[in-house]
């Protein structure tokens, strides 16, 4: 509880974040928040931007190899209630998507970065297919696009010292996988949904 408060406030102060909801509202219904990824702080940022009741039901997806490196990171991952995914050992019989769905059950929401890794600059990379399979297996989940602006300047890739600039987070209206929509089309549409929040 103490670490959580400390973390949310530290994240807010360092990132000077202003949070906006465009055509959607914070809600405890089951959702997948998917965002562009430019900084180590992204996970903490999106997670702390949610109101406490929503936050407690929301689990960020994070890379196992990074968040299990060192006791501090391990502790933090526990505080976020992060779901650690092994990037190296993705096999057919234990696909990450199945694991995610099993873990969230009928109550939790997810925070996901569908680019897979952090992109170097302001660009948003191609989305990996996880989001598509989530939508396919659980069509009832609301998929909420999130655009993170300026975090790549606050704590860029490969840096550990932050520069306290101002950033913004924009939550957009939910999208769903259309019936029979091809994977490539859907992933492109999801990426556009994130990018369109940039101009807002």
């Amino acid at each position: 509880m103490f670490t959580e408060t400390l973390l949310t406030w530290t994240a807010r102060i360092i990132s000077g974040v202003s949070v906006r909801w465009v055509d959607s509202q914070p809600d405890t219904c089951q959702r997948v928040y998917f965002a562009n990824h430019t900084s180590h702080l992204d996970v903490v940022l999106v997670w702390s931007a949610l109101p406490a009741d929503v936050r407690h039901l929301t689990r960020p997806i994070a890379a196992k190899d990074y968040w299990e490196g060192g006791s501090i990171r391990r502790h933090l991952a526990k505080v976020f209630n992060a779901m650690l995914i092994d990037r190296k050992e993705i096999k057919v019989h234990q696909s990450p998507v199945d694991m995610m769905l099993r873990e969230i059950g009928k109550t939790h929401s997810l925070i996901l970065f569908p680019e897979g890794g952090r992109s170097p600059g302001e660009e948003v990379g191609e989305f990996k297919s996880g989001l598509y399979y989530l939508g396919k297996k659980r069509p009832d989940l609301e998929l909420i696009p999130v655009y993170i602006n300026n975090m790549n300047r606050i704590l860029p890739r490969g840096e550990f010292l932050p520069v306290p600039l101002l950033s913004s987070l924009t939550f957009g209206p939910p999208i769903w996988l259309e019936a029979g929509e091809p994977k490539i089309d859907f992933l492109a549409r999801a990426r556009d949904a994130v990018l369109s929040l940039k101009e807002n």
Binding site: G16, N149, N150, R153, E159, L161, P162, V163, L165, N200
Partner: protein, 316 residues
């Protein structure tokens, strides 16, 4: 006694301005530009804020230094957010935010004039250039370091001279403990009043725009009228200042007013330039802290320095 009189005068002026601003807001028939009235009212709000902060300085100078330090930090944050920087600037920026900005205000708090007057223009400026060079990114090198240097200079160095006034001792007021708090209060009042006076004069008599590309409402008539009105108010507040003669107060007031206009215009140019490139949600509204302190930033170091040279304790 003089402290309370000054405080009372400022509060009376502020209340008058607030009432005026609210009255203007209701006058829909006069064909006034709603945006201009809002700008007027947000200036009055800033003035209230500063007056309350400065009220504190009569009791606790260090608290005032800390508050201005936080203000500078936030202003620099807005400035760098607006200004494009590259990965090569990252480490230099880290030290700018976490070393030079706090150090400047700590030195001001200890009244170490000989150090804080050169910390940024000598040490920080050289450091920024060298650190950016070490990063190996030489693209647009001069532009990049100039942007960071200017931001640090305006938001931190210039602003730090406002709380520095609290430690400035003058010949004529030796032994009077609250004289420097009055000096600071006088300075802020002059800057904010000159902004309002200039705005009103521009509305009433303005014909010749200074430059329409940057500011569509700032006129030469406004600048001259604002300076005249500020000189008048300064003369009326003569008894609160360390200046000996009426003409000295009037000259200083005109100077403050001129520097305020120059500051507001310069920062408007920067905002205009950046606003066209990055119209975003990063800084909500019109620039927040940065646009509220632009006039103060330009006037503070000049006012401090001239007061020190001509009226300071060491002056002959």
């Amino acid at each position: 006694m003089r402290d309370w009189a000054l405080l009372g005068t400022v509060l009376a002026l502020l209340s008058l301005a607030t009432l005026g601003g609210q009255w203007l807001k209701r006058q829909t028939s006069m064909g006034l530009d709603g945006k201009a009235v809002d700008a007027f009212n947000s200036r009055i709000q800033a003035w209230w804020f500063f007056s309350i902060v400065l009220g504190i300085s009569f009791f606790h100078p260090i608290l005032t230094v800390v508050l201005f330090g936080m203000l500078a930090f936030w202003a620099l944050r807005e400035y760098i957010t607006l200004t494009p920087t590259t990965m090569g600037d990252h480490r230099a920026l880290f030290w700018v935010f976490f070393l030079f900005t706090p150090a400047q205000f700590v030195l001001v708090g200890f009244n170490m004039y000989s150090l804080y007057s050169v910390l940024i223009p000598v040490y920080a400026f050289l450091f920024i250039a060298a650190r950016a060079a070490i990063s190996g990114d030489y693209h647009r090198f001069l532009e990049r370091i100039a942007k960071i240097q200017f931001g640090l200079f305006v938001c931190v160095y210039c602003l730090s001279f406002v709380p520095a006034l609290l430690f400035l001792e003058c010949q004529s007021t030796e032994g009077d403990e609250s004289a420097s708090a009055r000096l600071l209060f006088f300075f802020i009042t002059m800057v904010l009043f000159s902004e309002l006076a200039q705005f009103l004069c521009s509305r009433l008599f303005g014909k010749h725009l200074i430059t329409e590309t940057i500011d569509e409402s700032r006129t030469w008539e406004g600048v001259v009228g604002g300076a005249a009105a500020t000189a008048l108010l300064g003369s009326l507040l003569f008894w609160a200042t360390p200046f000996k003669y009426l003409w000295q107060v009037a000259t200083m007031s005109i100077l403050i007013s001129m520097m305020s206009s120059a500051g507001a215009l310069t920062m408007a140019a920067i905002r205009k330039d950046r606003g066209e490139v990055r119209s975003g949600t990063l800084i909500e509204g019109h620039g927040g802290v940065l646009s509220r302190i632009d006039a103060i930033c330009f006037a503070a170091p000049v006012f401090y320095h001239l007061t020190l040279v001509f009226f300071g304790r060491a002056a002959g």
